[in-house]
């Protein structure tokens, strides 16, 4: 199976560990992720704040390249990229006038967009297309005893909830359970992490992250599992500042793909687990090189 793959700027930068763990895990599932040729930044939230039409052009270029690549579907792991690409698809579908502007812009690159490549999140692909039975087959070292707080973040369920419930998504919960882990009840699973505010306006941004970490610890989690590189950065990268303002809430935050890799028996070093600020403690029943 081959899917087109849109990493996004984060996965090549601060979110490297996500890509590092995602590609081998997908390979283990017999899926090849072919990186989109000459993909450009999706625009995320910042571009939309400056010029909406151009933001659509940025996203559309990627969609057009994906169509050219010829694979059935495009996988976008970062929540923000996922939202921007899907949002653009909605706009192009609903507004013929916007489509005309985009078509004219795309023509400059000899590209066209017809809208037949769906943009999907890797979580969706793994659980809904491939299936949990396939995942279970490849689990060599079940994560028994590991208590995980599943954190989805906001942009994967809002405003479009294509593959899961908007208020109580369970795709990752079920995946983690299939890996043998114990999923704790986590009411804040879709509450905003602060987004880019943690870097620009520390106090409000950090408060959002602090709340999430505090509750995860309260609910008895050993680790927080995320699906977005910005969420992972916010929950993992600012512990000193959070401790200075409020209290210590040091709990490791990892990508769900890293947990999958561990369960599949892949070496921790290869999964980028050493890239987190708060190292993940050894899994009960096995050692992990953190």
């Amino acid at each position: 199976m081959k899917y087109s793959y849109f990493p996004g700027c984060s996965l090549k930068g601060t979110g490297r560990a996500y890509e590092e763990s995602l590609l081998p895990v997908f390979r283990a599932m017999d899926i090849e992720l072919e990186e989109l040729e000459d993909w450009n930044c999706c625009g995320a939230t910042a571009y939309m704040a400056v010029d909406e039409v151009k933001a659509c052009v940025m996203a559309s270029r990627n969609l057009a390249i994906a169509e050219k690549a010829g694979h059935k579907e495009l996988v976008a792991p970062c929540n923000a990229c996922y939202l921007v690409l899907n949002k653009t698809k909605h706009y192009l579908h609903e507004s013929p006038s916007v489509k005309r502007v985009i078509d004219a812009a795309l023509k400059q690159g000899n590209l066209t967009y017809t809208g037949n490549v769906p943009v999907r999140h890797p979580l969706d692909v793994l659980v809904n297309s491939v299936g949990l039975d396939e995942v279970k087959k490849r689990v060599k070292q079940p994560l028994k005893g590991l208590k995980v707080a599943p954190y989805y973040g906001c942009q994967i369920v809002r405003p479009y909830s294509t593959f899961d419930d908007q208020y109580n998504p369970t795709t990752m919960d079920r995946l983690l359970e299939a890996l043998g882990a114990t999923v704790v009840t986590y009411p804040l699973k879709t509450r905003c992490c602060g987004g880019s505010l943690t870097g620009t306006l520390p106090e409000p941004g950090l408060l959002c992250s602090y709340i999430l970490l505090k509750e995860a610890i309260k609910r008895g989690a050993d680790v927080v599992a995320t699906i977005c590189p910005l969420c992972q950065f916010n929950l993992d990268g600012y512990h000193d500042k959070i401790e200075a303002k409020w209290e210590s809430v040091r709990i490791p935050t990892v990508y769900f793909s890293q947990l999958m890799g561990l369960a599949f028996g892949l070496p921790a070093q290869e999964l980028g687990l050493h890239r987190g600020f708060v190292p993940m403690k050894s899994l009960p029943a096995q050692t992990v090189a953190a």
Partner: protein, 208 residues
């Protein structure tokens, strides 16, 4: 003795037509039906830091108080988590209205000079336009240099941590066909958007 400020608003303080303009962007017409219930502020995780609550921004926009709205901190504090949009009982696209207000504030240069968020947005925009990709660490550095480079000093520990973990790169990422992207983006500028978008200058938004 504390400074007393008079807070009355006269009709002259309004910018007639501003509300209609904002609402004319397709999808934002629902703002007309706002009943000021306050659900948006109630679910917004950032509302506790905002000078005007999201509900107040909606009321001010509808009442044409352009200056108050575009100078508020609220529009910059919005993290686009879409909670308000999803919960609104009138299905008003509040997040999209916030984006629109951000765009207007940037276009009219109405924001405090060294305010980090709009500066970041503009730098992001420039970098994405010229390089096709965004190198996070360079972007962050640019933002600090342009707003408060002392604060950049305060981030040294984070920077070092990222460097040690291999997540820090100062090599500018870019796409191969930069001029192709440039042409695509400038085409948008040159096209008479109004004629193509039936008089509307932003993408049409359907309801979801």
């Amino acid at each position: 003795m504390a400074e007393l400020t008079r807070t009355i608003k006269y009709e002259a303080d309004r910018v007639p037509g501003f509300g209609r303009e904002v609402m004319s962007v397709p999808g934002c017409e629902a703002l007309e039906s706002c009943i000021q219930c306050g659900t948006c502020s109630g679910v917004c995780p950032l509302s506790i830091y905002m000078d005007y609550s999201p509900r107040q921004v909606m009321a001010l926009t509808r009442a044409d108080f352009k200056n108050e709205v575009l100078r508020s901190h609220t529009i910059w504090l919005c993290a686009s988590c879409y909670s308000c949009t999803v919960e609104c009982p009138r299905q008003i696209r509040i997040t999209d209205i916030m984006y629109e207000l951000k765009q207007r504030a940037i276009k009219e240069e109405i924001y405090p000079k060294k305010f980090t968020i709009p500066v970041l947005a503009k730098e992001f925009y420039k970098m994405a336009h010229s390089q096709g990709r965004v190198t996070e660490n360079i972007l962050a550095t640019l933002m600090f240099l342009k707003t408060n480079w002392l604060a950049a000093m305060g981030q040294w520990k984070l920077g070092l941590g990222l460097l040690l973990r291999g997540r820090f790169s100062l090599k500018m990422e870019s796409i191969k066909r930069k001029d192709e992207l440039n042409r695509m983006l400038t085409t948008v500028d040159n096209l008479s958007i109004d004629s193509l978008t039936d008089g509307r200058s932003a993408p049409k938004k359907g309801s979801h």
